[in-house]
């Protein structure tokens, strides 16, 4: 059943991605001010949304784990954190490449960039903590606590860095606000690609989940081998 879902979702994501690439690259015209580079947005924005959905899911699943101690919830938390971190890396990399053309620099300490980087660091430390603990129950418990801390922190970070940047308005901000209303066809393309990336992310999470289950099975069998 699970296998079938994975294959169906993967196929749907692949078809959607090909269709979206066609629309993005060949149907939609260049944006008047930015030129072709604006197309990066069709992956940048959906990746950002996907990664936050994943981090939220990881936080909720961690809280449920602490309440129920069901190892399945721990597996969901780690799977969605890992996949979201991959998407967060996509967000940072594509944002940087876009900034190089539009702002002339790879990086600027703008509010969103900084917050995204902090977010990335927080969840990278989550994965590091998991590697540092060998005992499965302890690993699940401690990383669930960290995940809850991290998600609460993301909210505070987002708010505080916004204050930080509104206190010292930089020249980059005016460019951001210059976007204005979006062409409906372009907006639709963003939503289509969001759907594609969410499906793709879901496939990755399911695969990662299966691996986590396999690992548990191995651990159980190893204990059995010891008992014999």
């Amino acid at each position: 059943m699970r296998e079938k879902i994975i294959y169906i979702f993967a196929a749907a994501a692949a078809v959607l991605l090909v269709r979206n690439l066609y629309v993005i690259l060949l149907v939609l015209p260049d944006e008047a001010q930015q030129g072709p580079i604006y197309r990066i947005m069709f992956f940048h924005i959906p990746s950002a949304i996907t990664c936050f959905i994943g981090f939220l899911a990881a936080g909720i699943s961690s809280a449920i784990y602490l309440a129920t101690k069901n190892p399945r919830n721990d597996a969901i938390a780690v799977a969605s954190t890992e996949v979201s971190l991959a998407f967060a890396t996509v967000v940072l990399a594509t944002g940087s490449i876009w900034a190089r053309i539009i702002w002339g620099i790879w990086w600027t300490w703008d509010a969103r960039l900084t917050s995204m980087l902090v977010c990335w660091l927080l969840y990278a430390s989550y994965l590091m903590l998991r590697r540092a603990i060998d005992e499965p129950t302890q690993r699940a418990k401690f990383s669930a606590v960290l995940s809850i801390f991290a998600f609460s922190d993301v909210i505070i970070v987002w708010k505080s860095i916004e204050w930080w940047r509104t206190q010292h308005p930089g020249p980059v901000l005016s460019i951001r606000t210059g976007g204005g209303q979006m062409n409906p066809a372009m907006e639709a393309a963003i939503y289509w690609n969001l759907l594609a990336l969410i499906l793709f992310g879901l496939v990755l999470v399911l695969v990662r989940l299966r691996q986590e289950e396999m690992r548990r099975e191995i651990d159980g069998m190893r204990q059995m081998a010891h008992a014999i």
């Binding site: 660091l121 590091m128 418990k141 606590v145 960290l146 609460s152 922190d153 505080s160 860095i161």
Partner: protein, 235 residues
């Protein structure tokens, strides 16, 4: 649980005080972490003088940031020791088995760490003032308030993760990796307020926003830690 009830509703204050006193006494007898933290703070202050021209106006502008980098690094040394100290002779198991809730143990330890880290900060602040020719005492009380608020936030997060990492092989490596990203909002707020305060600006207007942020950070992470410390220590 029943025992706690018999001893009255406010008995947790006594439990916290006992742990607090025990930790403080243990540290003051050896002064291991305190000395290490202080000398570390001094060394970083010295190193910064090579990185930035100590007499220039620009250094005054970034003084708040420098100060908090020193405090964050030096404070970690104390936080690292907080639970590690209990490992020899299985003291930690004894503490966990004691008939007090885990969160009182946590609060007592946090308070002790708070006092120790604040002491390091208050000692290195005048030294910083001398080295970098900063007249930091103009807004003394406001500065003390910001120091206390931020330090509480840092020690709560630090003590919580000190408890979480105590049983790991690589705890000394994990603690900074885990706590610095979480501390970022508190450190950002503290840096933004401390800079102007040190140069004599009063605590008002925009600066109050940052104080509110610090208060919010303290409340959120104190309650999260108190709620979750039981899972971390006992399971």
């Amino acid at each position: 649980m029943q025992q706690t009830k018999q001893r009255g509703a406010m008995s947790w204050v006594g439990d916290v005080a006992v742990i607090f006193g025990k930790d403080l006494r243990a540290e003051l007898r050896t002064k291991e972490a305190l000395n290490a933290s202080l000398s570390f703070a001094l060394v970083i202050l010295l190193l910064f003088s090579f990185a930035f021209d100590p007499s220039s106006e620009q250094t005054h502008d970034i003084a708040g940031g420098l100060l908090w980098i020193v405090y964050a690094f030096a404070g970690t040394l104390i936080l690292n020791r907080s639970f590690v100290r209990e490992l020899p002779n299985d003291c930690l198991d004894g503490l966990i088995a004691a008939p007090i809730p885990a969160w009182t143990l946590f609060l007592g330890k946090s308070l002790a760490n708070f006092v120790l880290v604040l002491a390091v900060e208050l000692i290195s602040l005048p030294i910083f003032g001398i080295f970098y020719n900063v007249r930091w005492a103009q807004q003394g009380w406001a500065l003390l308030l910001v120091l206390a608020l931020t330090t509480w936030g840092l020690t709560v997060v630090g003590t919580m993760f000190s408890a979480l990492t105590v049983n790991l092989r690589i705890r000394e490596l994990m603690l900074p990796i885990l706590i610095y990203p979480i501390m970022i909002p508190a450190l950002l707020g503290a840096m933004e307020v401390t800079g102007p305060l040190i140069t004599g600006k009063p605590l008002e207007g925009d600066l109050l926003t940052w104080v509110r942020l610090l208060v919010g950070f303290d409340i959120i992470f104190t309650s999260l830690s108190v709620a979750l410390v039981e899972t971390v220590l006992v399971g």
